[in-house]
C-alpha cells in the first residue's frame, strides 16, 4: 500500500507569533519553525500502516526552502522519499490554493492508495484542506480519524466527534485526516537521521505542476486579511482580600464579579 503524508512547517506553538505589517501574513522569520504537530501523528500512522501492509511512504510538503527541515524530520522518522513544492509564488496561499498544489503534486506520484494529513495546522487552524484535497482528487474523504484500519480496499476510521465517535468506511484511494488521539509519534532514531540525508527528495515549482502562479499565493487567495490588531496585553488579576468573613460572602462576591464581566 502506497501512502502519501502531507506535512506542513509551522511556527512553534510556544513561540510568540507576529504578523508581517507589509502584507499581513505570518512573519515566519521571527519564529522557530517546526513540523505541524498533528502531522507528526499522520507520519506515525503512515509508518504503522506500512509496517503491516508494506508499500512506500512519500512525504509531501508545500513550503519555503527552510521547510526542508520538516521534510528531513519526516524522513528521519521513517518516510521513504519526499516531494517538496517550493516556489516564491506560493507565499500567502490560502486553503483553496494549498489544496490545489497538494492535489497536483499527489498526481505526480504513482499508485497512491492513501493520503494522510493532520486534521489541522497549528498556525491557520482551518481544518479544511483535507476535505478540499479529497474533493479535488475525487477520492473518499475520511476526516478526524482517531483510529484507521485498512482491509483490502476498505478503509475504516473512527471519526472523533464532540460526544464520541462515528465509524466511517470508504474505499481506497482515500484521503484520511487524523487527530492526536490516534497514536504516539516516535522520535526519529539516530540511524533514521543519518539515512534521511540519503533519501530522495523531489522538488517542484508551481509551474512544474501545471499550475498558473496567479492561481496561488497572495494574489490568488479568495480571502485576504484587510488589517489586524495585536491582542491587548493581559491585564493583571484582581486580588480580593479576605477580611475575615470571606467564607460567608465568597459565593456572593464571585457571582458579583462574574456578572460584572458578563460571564454569567
Amino acid at each position: 500500500m502506497n501512502i502519501v503524508v502531507c506535512v506542513k512547517q509551522v511556527p512553534d506553538t510556544w513561540s510568540e507569533k507576529r504578523l508581517d505589517p507589509e502584507d499581513s501574513t505570518l512573519d515566519r522569520e521571527a519564529t522557530d519553525p517546526v513540523m505541524n504537530e498533528m502531522d507528526e501523528y499522520a507520519v506515525e500512522e503512515a509508518l504503522r500502516l506500512q509496517e503491516t501492509h508494506g508499500g512506500e511512504v512519500t512525504i509531501l510538503c508545500m513550503g519555503p526552502d527552510s521547510a526542508t527541515q520538516t521534510v528531513r524530520k519526516a524522513l528521519s522518522m521513517g518516510g521513504d522519499r519526499a516531494v517538496h513544492v517550493v516556489d516564491d509564488a506560493l507565499h500567502g496561499s490560502d486553503a483553496v490554493a494549498t489544496s490545489l498544489v497538494l492535489a497536483r503534486a499527489i498526481e505526480t506520484i504513482d499508485a497512491v492508495d492513501l493520503v494522510l494529513l493532520g486534521s489541522e495546522s497549528s498556525d491557520a487552524r482551518m481544518s479544511v484542506v483535507p476535505a478540499m484535497l479529497a474533493e479535488r482528487l475525487g477520492r473518499a474523504q475520511l476526516t478526524f480519524a482517531k483510529e484507521v484500519t485498512v482491509d483490502g480496499p476498505t478503509v475504516t476510521i473512527k471519526r472523533l466527534t464532540d460526544d464520541g465517535y462515528q465509524v466511517v468506511e470508504g474505499t481506497t484511494p482515500a484521503v484520511v485526516s487524523v487527530v492526536e488521539k490516534i497514536n504516539e509519534p516516535r522520535y526519529p532514531s539516530f540511524k533514521g537521521i543519518m539515512s534521511a540525508k540519503k533519501k530522495p527528495v523531489q522538488t517542484y515549482a508551481v509551474a512544474d505542476l501545471g499550475i498558473d502562479p496567479g492561481e496561488v499565493g497572495l494574489s490568488g487567495a479568495w480571502t485576504s486579511v484587510e488589517s489586524f490588531e495585536l491582542a491587548p496585553p493581559r491585564e493583571s488579576g484582581r486580588v480580593v482580600t479576605d477580611d475575615g468573613n470571606g467564607a460567608d460572602r465568597l459565593a456572593e462576591k464571585l457571582v458579583e464579579f462574574l456578572a460584572s464581566k458578563k460571564f454569567v
Partner: protein
C-alpha cells in the same frame, strides 16, 4: 521555576551527524526526561520506559560498531551525549554509561560468532545491561571476588553474591565477573548471563542517599547454570576484561559528573540573577560571582579533561591514566560545584522544593562508583611510578 532558558553548551563536534545526534539528545532530554525527573527521584521509581524510548532512538549502543547495530560513534561524541542527559537527569545518564559498560566485554572480547549472536540485541535499544564486579567483601580490592563458576558438562554452575549492582533486578543481561580458579586476579572469568537464567535473583533495592531513581541491588547467583559458550574471552582473562571495561566506564562517569555539575551551575546562575538581597541581585555581590566563576571554571576544565581522554581513546592510544584523572577530577569537581550551588541558593538550596540538594546527594555517589577516587589516585600513581 528557575534555570529556564538554559543556553545549550557550546560544543565542538567532529561531524554533522554528531551535531544531529546531540540535537536529538537534547530533544529527548527536554521532552522525555525533564518532565519525569523530579517525581521519579522523589518516589524512587526506576524509569525503565525512558530507557526504551532512548534505546529506540539509538542511544544505547553509540560507541559500538555499526556491523552489530551500534552507532559507530567515537567516545568523544558518545560521552557528550551522556553529559547532555546528565544535565537533565543523572540517573538516566549513569544508566546509559552502565549499559554501555556492560556491553563492553562482549563487544571487546567476544568471538565474532558470539557477537553475531548476542550483540545486536544488546545494542538494539530494547535490552538493558548491568555489570557485576563488586561483592560484599570485595570492593576496591575487586580481584578478591569469590563468586564461583564450576564447570558441569557444558554449563558453568555459578554461586555467589554481587553487591551494589546498578540495574540489578531490572536488567536483561549481566556481565558477570566470577572465579574459575584460585589464582587471584588470574583466576577470574567473564560470563554473559541472561537475566532469566534459573538461580539468578535480585535482593530488594538499596535505599540510597541519592540516585534514588536508579536501581541498585544485590544479585544472587544460586546454582545458576550458564552455558559455557557464554564465556567471554578465556578463563583467567576476566580481570583484564573488567579493568579494560572500567577504563571506558570511568569516562562515562566523568561525563555524567560534568553534566550534573552543569545543571547545578545553571540553577545557581539563574538564581543569582533573580534573588535580591540588600536591594541588589545576588550576582552583583563579588562574593557570589566569584563562586559562580569558580564553578564554571571547574565545569569547563572537567569537560576538557574527559574529552582529552576520550580523544586519546578514539585515536587508539593508551588512555587508562587519563580516564582515571578525568573520573577523579570531574567527580570531585561535581561534588564541590553542587555543594556551592546549595550555598548560592542558601536556605532554598537546602530544601527539596529546589533541585540542588538532590544534585549534591547524587554527586557523592560518583566519587565512589567504578573505583573510588582513592582508587583512581592509586591508578594514576601507578602509571607515574611504573618502571
Amino acid at each position: 521555576m528557575i534555570a529556564r532558558g538554559r543556553r545549550p553548551v557550546e560544543r565542538h563536534l567532529p561531524t554533522e551527524e554528531a551535531a544531529a545526534l546531540l540535537d536529538l539528545t537534547r530533544e529527548l532530554a527536554s521532552e522525555e526526561l525533564a518532565p519525569r525527573v523530579n517525581a521519579y527521584e522523589a518516589e524512587s521509581r526506576f524509569p525503565r520506559e525512558v530507557f526504551h524510548t532512548i534505546g529506540r532512538a539509538g542511544l544505547l549502543g553509540l560507541p559500538y560498531d555499526e556491523r552489530w547495530g551500534g552507532g559507530g560513534q567515537p567516545y568523544e561524541v558518545y560521552l557528550q551525549v551522556v553529559e547532555e542527559l546528565a544535565t537533565v537527569w543523572a540517573t538516566v545518564a549513569e544508566g546509559v554509561s552502565v549499559h554501555t559498560l556492560a556491553c563492553y566485554p562482549l563487544a571487546g572480547f567476544g568471538s565474532d560468532e558470539q557477537r553475531d549472536r548476542w550483540l545486536p540485541d544488546l545494542l538494539g535499544g530494547e535490552l538493558l545491561g548491568a555489570y557485576c564486579l563488586s561483592e560484599p567483601q570485595s570492593g576496591s580490592d575487586a580481584a578478591a571476588l569469590t563468586t564461583r563458576a564450576v564447570v558441569d558438562g557444558d554449563v558453568y554452575v555459578v554461586d555467589g553474591t554481587k553487591s551494589w549492582i546498578t540495574h540489578g533486578g531490572e536488567a536483561d543481561f549481566y556481565s558477570l565477573l566470577c572465579r574459575t580458579s584460585d589464582e587471584g586476579s588470574r583466576g577470574i572469568a567473564c560470563l554473559l548471563v541472561d537475566a532469566t537464567t534459573d538461580g539468578v535473583s535480585a535482593a530488594a533495592p538499596e535505599r540510597k542517599m541519592g540516585f534514588t531513581g536508579s536501581t541498585t541491588a544485590q544479585m544472587r547467583f544460586d546454582g545458576a547454570r550458564v552455558a559455557r559458550d557464554r564465556l567471554l574471552g578465556a578463563e583467567g582473562e576476566g580481570f583484564r576484561i573488567a579493568l579494560a571495561a572500567l577504563d571506558g566506564g570511568r569516562l562515562g562517569i566523568a561525563a555524567c559528573a560534568v553534566g550534573l555539575a552543569q545543571n547545578a551551575l545553571d540553577v545557581a546562575v539563574a538564581w543569582a540573577g533573580e534573588r535580591r538581597q540588600f536591594g541588589r541581585e545576588l550576582r552583583e555581590f563579588q562574593g557570589v560571582s566569584f563562586m559562580l566563576a569558580d564553578m564554571a571554571t571547574g565545569v569547563e576544565a572537567g569537560r576538557a579533561l574527559y574529552l582529552d581522554a576520550a580523544r586519546r581513546r578514539d585515536r587508539g592510544e593508551a588512555f587508562g591514566k587519563s580516564a582515571a584523572m578525568a573520573k577523579l577530577f570531574c567527580t570531585d569537581m561535581a561534588m564541590k560545584v553542587t555543594t556551592d550551588a546549595v550555598q548560592v541558593l542558601g536556605g532554598y538550596g537546602y530544601v527539596q522544593d529546589f533541585p540542588v540538594e538532590r544534585l549534591m546527594r547524587e554527586a557523592k555517589a560518583l566519587q565512589i562508583v567504578e573505583g573510588t577516587n582513592q582508587v583512581q589516585r592509586m591508578v594514576i600513581g601507578r602509571h607515574l611510578t611504573r618502571p
